[in-house]
Symmetry: C2
Subunit: 313 residues, 2 copies
């Protein structure tokens, strides 16, 4: 059976721009519940400036709090060497770095030009590798940039190659603002797979314009089998206008299961995570398939008292 490897990014990409800040204990619940539902990797937090992103200020405490099988599945985002050192101190074993594929996005996001951003990224990758950490390198705004429009696929190919050559264990192509369409995804991801194979290549999709699952399917068709998604579709980059709405993990897992891919994810358990998140963030949440999945799995389960979706009914 074909495998799909899903990294849930809701604790980081999802929570980082929520108005309501979850407590460290609630984040711990989220991470452990995601792990219990079968998610194989979880982007737990980021070691960014607590002033810039106060939602992530408890990064070190959170890593210390997570126990059990979940603690082996965590990766954390680091923006620079300082973040890397903090992550190392906190016991992180896998980090990710983010490089934007356009000049303006790098300027707006980290106040660096492209050349400087690439160099900083490569430095952090090298330092992380020397420290024995596993590494993921994101190429952000890889399809379109909110400031520059369409992103050059050639540049994305070049940056991806630089990150792969620098030894990144995984290169993740990110549609940060959810602006990609399926033929773009097929073309770019197909070219990347031809260059670097599928084993080290991931795709991070948003669903801003309703094309999330169509893009995921297009990518799966050219052989992509590593995806980021976010429970309940929670998320969006606070620095990228129009980025709201990650691809929902329940949507992706459902597409995968229906299409004969193994993900290791127990969908009813994942739906309970969405429900728990919704309760804690005090708002209705859930991906495109959520209402239907809730109803479907409550019918097939032996729990007649199980609540029907209250949200999109």
């Amino acid at each position: 059976m074909k495998q799909l490897f899903i990294t849930d990014v809701s604790p980081r990409d999802g929570l980082q721009n929520q108005a309501l800040h979850l407590s460290t204990q609630d984040k711990r619940w989220l991470i452990e519940a995601l792990s219990d539902s079968g998610i194989p990797r979880i982007e737990a937090t980021s070691f960014v400036s607590p002033t810039g992103v106060p939602q992530m200020a408890d990064a070190a405490d959170l890593l210390a709090a997570v126990t059990g099988p979940a603690s082996d599945k965590l990766c954390v985002l680091v923006p620079n060497s300082k973040g890397l050192f903090r992550a190392q101190d906190a016991g992180a074993r896998e980090i990710c770095v983010v490089l934007s594929a356009t000049e303006t996005m790098n300027q707006r996001n980290i106040r660096m030009g492209m050349a400087q951003a690439v160099s900083a990224c490569l430095d952090v990758l090298q330092q992380a590798q020397e420290a024995g950490l596993r590494t993921r390198a994101y190429v952000a705004v890889a399809f379109a940039c909110p400031f520059e429009g369409q992103t050059s696929p050639d540049l994305v190919m070049q940056l991806s190659k630089q990150m792969a050559d620098a030894g990144a264990d995984e290169v993740v192509i990110a549609d940060t603002i959810g602006a990609a369409h399926p033929s773009q995804v097929s073309n770019l991801m197909g070219d990347l797979i031809n260059t670097m194979g599928a084993d080290r290549l991931g795709l991070h999709l948003h669903d801003t314009r309703g094309l999330g699952l169509a893009n995921a399917w297009a990518a799966m068709q050219v052989g992509v089998n590593r995806f980021d998604s976010s429970a309940a579709g929670l998320g969006g980059c606070p620095f990228a206008p129009g980025a709201a709405g990650n691809l929902a993990t329940e949507d992706l897992a459902w597409l995968a299961h229906e299409s004969g891919y193994e993900t290791g994810i127990d969908i009813p358990a994942l739906l309970q995570v969405v429900e728990g998140l919704s309760m804690r963030l005090k708002k209705p949440l859930g991906g495109r398939s959520y209402a239907w999945l809730k109803q479907h799995f409550s019918k097939v389960s032996a729990e007649p008292h199980h609540a029907l979706p209250g949200k999109q009914a």
Copy 2:
């Protein structure tokens, strides 16, 4: 440029199970507004029993009311010979018939077994052709049936061939309950195109489980270029539990436009139709991309030289 031919079914499939019944004048507005937005064909109404589907009781009055270019784009659903005669009397020039691909669905929907349903369908097709009408034949519950589960692709192939051999101008494969997944769609539609070509083959998708656009994309990849969809995603078959939510025309048109297909549809004009529908049905409506499209196109019209995707909440 590749063409996508979209039939909007909101006046029929969309309105037939709304609690609030639109007046004939409001339906006329809908049909003419859809036509003005560039939709090339519109499923206007059905000549079914006014007792069974009171929302469609004004079928003849509606056909008489529609004027202008829209009147050349209409097709109407007829359940049987009696419906066909009523449609003819009302001046219909294109009709569609529906044959369900499972025994139980035929029983529940029209109280006939499969053999009898096929025979009735072929009779109506022949009568319509003799009367000089253009014909479309739907094969419903073609991927899954709410009563029988997975539908046999071989049976769908066989029924489609029967309808094509009987001279149906178009055979439309319908995922009546929105249960198809993309690999199923690729396989069945690919096989059908190999057998009967793409020119007479359509696909009617629902979006019940969030897979509507992924299914559409999978179909486009194997060469399907004729689709049904419904403005605002309005619709769902009243006889099929779990069928709520047609594929939204604005979602499909947006996917098509983004992917380099020509549809002839002016998306901002289509968004105004959705808005008008929402007002008339007194509830919020819109497909998966609607909120984003509204924001996007209002910015595009305000700042024609620099269209940025807007920040979403």
